[in-house]
Each structure stands twice: as structure tokens, then as C-alpha cells.
């Protein structure tokens, strides 16, 4: 199995973590988003979607992390708690994985884009109202994660960790990597983070998040040519 990944990307981190935790043998194929490698011809032969992660299992090519995660669990017959088969638990995990696209994922990504890419693409700091509005949205998602999805359970589905926790944690680390402290003043969230970290293993958690925790170095490391190539798309998004 080949996994095309850039650990800057949340969905890539989730796929990487699960593959490692389940001890699925794979070849890590690095796709450097900061150099625009995903937009090149080589990568285009792997996937026309031009996104990461991509999984190549023999001849079978699959995009979309939630699809890849479910595939890996099903194919490698992972312990049931990762993606429970019981009707109600399956509904709960699916509910989280569906909700998160346009909630925690969208809002966490927006913070990352505004903090890290806006200044690079637009040549100025983010207007305060834009940033404040984005933080408000992120806070709302975190409140919903805590109060609706977690409540007083150890993990999203219940007593055991699942793919939902891996996905949620990957998304939360995105704004965290830019310096936003989402955990202070949130004891429920902090306790859950500690449980997830303990379950996957402190070393592995650190390994998966090494790149995002250095996000502030992005402006020095980003390829100037790639930056110019990506500017039109981002300027469109930001204005």
C-alpha cells in the first residue's frame, strides 16, 4: 500500500496515524504541498483530484481520508471499536465524520489559512473582523464537539477510541499549530486530548504532529515559485 501524504494536512495526519496504530505496512510517498507538488504532472497521474491524502492499494486508488480510513479498518479487520459495526454506534461515528467536514474541519482550516497564508498571499495582515469571526466559528465547533459529540464520554463513541477521535484531533491540531490555544479553559477537551494521545502513543502523536507544530516556519520554507502559482487561487478565496 502507498500513502501519498503531506503531514501539513489534517486528513493526511489522520490516515498516517491510523495506519501506524493498526501497524498496516505502507510506503510513505511525500507530496510537498508548499512546493505545489500536488499540482504537477507526476502527481496528476496518481490523482486528478490534486489533493492529499491518496491511497494506492495495488491498482486501487482512493482519495478522501474518511473513505481511506474506513477502507483500512475494513480491509485489515481492525478491532471493532475503531469503526464499530453495531447499528447505533456506527450511526454515531458516521454522524461525527459527516458533521466535521463543514464544521470543525472548515473552521479550523480557515484559522490556519488566515494566520499562515493570508499574509503571504495578500501582502498584509488579516483584518481583525475576519479573524474574530473565524475564531467565533471555531469556538462554536469546539463547543459542539464538547457538548454534543463528547459529552461526558471518554471518547466520541463511548469508552473506546475510534476513527472519529483521530479525525477530530487531526483537525484541532491545525489551529493549534498556528499558535491558537484551544485547550486552556477547556478541561473536557484537554482531558480527551490526553486520552487520545495516550491511546495512540505519545511518540507517534508527536511524530504525526511535528510538521504542523512548525507551521510558523512556513513563510520561510514555502517555495517562491509555488507561492506565485498559488496566489490567484488564494486571493480569490480571501477577497
Amino acid at each position: 500500500m502507498e500513502l501519498y501524504l503531506d503531514l501539513f494536512s489534517q486528513p493526511c495526519r489522520a490516515v498516517f496515524l491510523l495506519a501506524k496504530v493498526l501497524e498496516i505496512p505502507f510506503e510513505f510517498k511525500y507530496v510537498n504541498l508548499a512546493t505545489g507538488q500536488h499540482l504537477g504532472d507526476e502527481f496528476g497521474k496518481i490523482s486528478m483530484m490534486r489533493k492529499v491524502p491518496v491511497m494506492k492499494d495495488g491498482e486501487f486508488v482512493l482519495t478522501e481520508s474518511t473513505a481511506i480510513l474506513e477502507y483500512m479498518v475494513q480491509k485489515h479487520r481492525a478491532p471493532d471499536h475503531w469503526f464499530p459495526s453495531e447499528l447505533l454506534l456506527r450511526a454515531r461515528i458516521n454522524e461525527y465524520l459527516s458533521w466535521q467536514h463543514t464544521n470543525l474541519r472548515a473552521h479550523g482550516s480557515k484559522i490556519f489559512l488566515l494566520k499562515m497564508l493570508f499574509p503571504l498571499m495578500m501582502g498584509c495582515e488579516v483584518p481583525k473582523e475576519k479573524m474574530d469571526a473565524a475564531m467565533e466559528d471555531l469556538n462554536m465547533s469546539l463547543i459542539q464537539l464538547e457538548n454534543y459529540f463528547l459529552q461526558n464520554k471518554p471518547f466520541i463513541i463511548g469508552d473506546k477510541i475510534s476513527v472519529a477521535d483521530i479525525v477530530a484531533m487531526a483537525e484541532i491540531m491545525q489551529p493549534v499549530g498556528t499558535g491558537v490555544d484551544v485547550f486552556t479553559g477547556r478541561p473536557t477537551l484537554s482531558a480527551w486530548r490526553d486520552r487520545v494521545t495516550a491511546q495512540v502513543g505519545v511518540e507517534l502523536f508527536k511524530e504525526a504532529n511535528e510538521v504542523i507544530m512548525k507551521a510558523k516556519d512556513l513563510s520561510q520554507n514555502i517555495d517562491k515559485t509555488a507561492l506565485e502559482m498559488m496566489k490567484p487561487k488564494f486571493q480569490k478565496m480571501f477577497s
Binding site: M48, M49, F60, L62, T63, E64, S65, T66, A67, I68, E70, Y71, Q74, K75, L87, L88, R90, A91, R92, N94, E95, L97, S98, W99, H101, T102, A106, K110, A133, Q144, N147, Y148, K236, M237, F238
Partner: protein
Amino acid sequence: MSLKLFLDMISQPCRSVFLFAKKNNLPVEVKLISLKNGEQHTEKFRKVNPLRKVPALKDGDFCMGESIPMMEYMAEKFNTPDHWFPKDLQKRARVNEYLSWQHLGIRMHGSKIFVMKVIDGPVVKLEVPEDKMARAMEDLNWSLDLIEKTFIKDGGFIGGEQISIADLVAIVEIMQPFASGVDVFQGRAKLSAWKERVVQAVGKELFDEAHKTILSAKDSVKQLDSSKVEYFRPLTVLYFL
């Protein structure tokens, strides 16, 4: 019937759930919720879905939101034909792939066009700048191109030779900008042919029933009480980054 579905047919995810439940003759009760009258904010509805969204499902004491998981729940509980949500590893993966992509693909861009054309100007009296509209159309076209060229299998459906949940989810999203007056099918022979196959598989009568509300939305908003306008404001800011 113990399983209740809470729907407003103006909403795309409600339509896919409706189509799936009715096509499979599932023993469910449909309860209509009026978003424009703010019924999603009532105490009663909040007990069903604290996140205040439709569609919502209540099966005895079990409540949930999110259309795709709801359809998967019903597929499993009522043992619907396999093609709706195949158990085979790779077929399942293909359906999941589409269902995941579409949230920030066609759903986002189609919804944006609908809100811009039907709600912003006519209801909220918010003028949409021309360049923003042009960019939104560009995004919509990009999504439609991807669906046509990458997701729909030649002569078939998104998951393969048979219709699945992915096709229901796709068609209801595509109908949203269509209902706002954008002819998404013009110049797209493959997309049009796929649409016909979906309509045939679901049944024209059922398809039309599901889309009656959205197809008359442009006109019905004209009769909207100005006091209801506040409910639409959140929608208008959602889609601007």
C-alpha cells in the same frame, strides 16, 4: 411508526433522505419542519437535534442528524438492497469517496449559488457583487465538471453500474442551483444522461414530489413575511470566507 424523519424539502440533504426512504418503502413517518418559520429553533425540535439542523431522525429514544449517516442507518436497519450502500470493500470505498468529497465540493458551491440568487438579493436585500457571483459560478462549474468527468462511471452511476446513496446525494445538490435558475445540465450531455438514469431508477413521480418545493422556491420567497428575513441572514454569511 417508531422511526420519524424531520425534513424541510427546501434542504438538499432532506430530499436525499426522503427519496431513499420512500423509494425503499421504509416504515417511517415524515414530519415537515419549516426552516423559514424558524421551527428548527423550537424547544421541541432541539430535543430531537440539539444542533438545530435538518434532516433529523428519531427512532424511539435514539436521535441523530446528518443525512448520509441517517440513510446508512436506515439501510442497515431495514436491510435495503445492497446496491444502495454496497458491502463490498472497493464498491463501498467508491461510494464513500463521493459522499466525502461532496461536502466541500458540489454541496458548498451549489448552496452558495442558491443563497446568492434566491435569498441574498430577493429576501435579505443584500446585493451580491458581480465578481463574487462570477467566482461562485466558476466554483460550481468546476464541481459539475468533476462529477461528470471523474465520478460518474460511463453509462452508469457514481458507484458503478447501479444506483446508490451517492447518486441521491449528488442529484439533490445539483438541483439546488438548478432551482435558482442556473441550467446546470445545458452543454453537459453526460450529466444529463446520468440525471435521466437517476430519475428513472427512483421513479419520476417520486423525484418530482421531492423537488416540488425547491423548484417553486424562487416564487415562494416573494411571499415571505419580512419578519422571517432574519432566519436567512446566517445563511448569507456562511458562504463568504
